[in-house]
Symmetry: C2
Subunit: 337 residues, 2 copies
Amino acid sequence: LKTHREVTIYDVAEASGLSPSTVSRALKDHPHIKKDTKRKIRELAAEMGYQRNKFASNLRLRQTHTIGVVVPRLDSWFMATVLSGIEKVASANGYGIIISQSQESWKKELACVNTLYNSRVDGLLVSLASDTRDLEHYGRLLSKNIPVVFFDRVMECSGCLNIVIDNYSAAYEVARHLISRGCRNPAFIGGNIMRNVYSERLRGFRQALIDNGLVPDEKLVFITDMSSRAATDTARLISGMKKKPDGVFAANDTTAVALMVELARRKIRIPEDMAVAGFNNEPVSSVIQPNLTTVDYPAGAMGEMAALSLLDRLNNAQSNSLSTIVLKHKLIVRDST
Amino acid sequence: LKTHREVTIYDVAEASGLSPSTVSRALKDHPHIKKDTKRKIRELAAEMGYQRNKFASNLRLRQTHTIGVVVPRLDSWFMATVLSGIEKVASANGYGIIISQSQESWKKELACVNTLYNSRVDGLLVSLASDTRDLEHYGRLLSKNIPVVFFDRVMECSGCLNIVIDNYSAAYEVARHLISRGCRNPAFIGGNIMRNVYSERLRGFRQALIDNGLVPDEKLVFITDMSSRAATDTARLISGMKKKPDGVFAANDTTAVALMVELARRKIRIPEDMAVAGFNNEPVSSVIQPNLTTVDYPAGAMGEMAALSLLDRLNNAQSNSLSTIVLKHKLIVRDST
DNA sequence: GTGAAAGCGCTAACAA
DNA sequence: TTGTTAGCGCTTTCAC
């Protein structure tokens, strides 16, 4: 427990010979207070080392100027970049962010949401864990008018806002590109298809094959936990097949890169023997040789947009009835295909 | 402003026919309360959708179970990994984390620290901005017994704890390795040498040269902002020199990699024409061809250790008088040298 | 233009 | 084992 008592508005009031209410008003630039008084109080407060106590204020005002963020994990390029965008917008608008990781687990996501609720965050920014089945744990927030914005990994949810890219089209474009490069038998690597990002990419991938007269081979659809390790294993699997795929579309660059490294180790030439495409346009994609064909994903912009939208809902209660915002993606063709 | 009133312990008290204090105690498993009463109250509270209000509690208790984190930027592999470690330990111990970015600016760092102070965080975890000159802005926290732990980018500070690796030795080892591979004229790329991580690495680099009978060439010391862009520029500069260096030690892998990419574009062979070593052992270092020689930096462990140490100071007020913790690094030799 | 006073929800010293 | 009560520091309505 702290030993020193805080400097409060009462102390400032006493020292200035004014009342606490006047001090409180002066400090927040209330129009009813004389300019001169304001100045005096400001100076005195600064001199005394006064710092307003957010808890007392929050308790009174019932709002915290804090937004909660729940992400599956934060040690990926994508999330770090999104978070950076969120933090930038939040802090520019006087909001703080509390971050928690669900570690890709539904159960832990539930715990995170509850903790953040207890912290009385003004709103929530969420990207879903890999195995989250429903949105019940957000019900309480919603019923209390605490806005929730999902980004990247989202689910349908009345009253929430979803921020995404068009994963279906992006994947469709990738697959079409693969086909145009001569692939007739491409493989897909993705994560748990309960998540929109993976199911939509798989759907786009399949549809592109069908639209081009090819038959998707279910044996070439690999669902993994999207770890580098899993990618390496998949590379082994693939390179051991009698009838190898002639191309691979991995649902993120980290997976694509780990795959390429292992394929190279096994003397499979890229793109001659097997074309490889990724997703996200992570920096590593333009480092690996050959440079990786991928989809540019506006991660920073998504973070900023998510924060902006949340702030908007916070300020203009319900004015905004949008339910989905779709950000632009872009296919980037490089040497791996 | 929220419309719904919260469910409070008063509501639960009324509904249960007990007093608020009993409810409060039951909810926190106070030993003086009958087991049966506890159970009843718990059930009732859950049923009524009671969630304790942290603000009221914080206001009363004068502690928040929240730790503030200030980092230069959070969109790098290193920071994301450190943060992941911090979050893991914090949440496992019932603490939340509020994260803010100084954007490498002293001024903004100051603002971050003040905001976090206003939020009454229990303690602070900090990695310094590139141009921070002194630690005055931490003075107030320290005088209020709010513990501050610096990690990675630290400064001497009585009363604080610093968590680092031995940057001097690590750099010394890298330089010695470069020399053992035949380099006689290696270059150094680092950031602002006000920061220990860069000054120490430069110092170790120089000393290794001297100890091996070489003379450090000051024209081959490049101080940049450590952006990829700057690395590319440096590569151009270097490759345009009449008397090129025969090796480069970059103070992080991102810089080393951007450098290698540009050198390759200019047909400089690595390691034959120029050896390159980096720092951090970022994943990209084992993706680039040739794989990058680097120093393994225990980023995740550093995050966990930082959080753990802070919690320790929070719990055993001042018991721990350590002022510096040094984590182990490891030279990793690969094909780029 | 300024002040008095009530109350946000919770906790703990003290009383019973 | 449980209840009473007095704040934690701030904001704001109402009065002057």
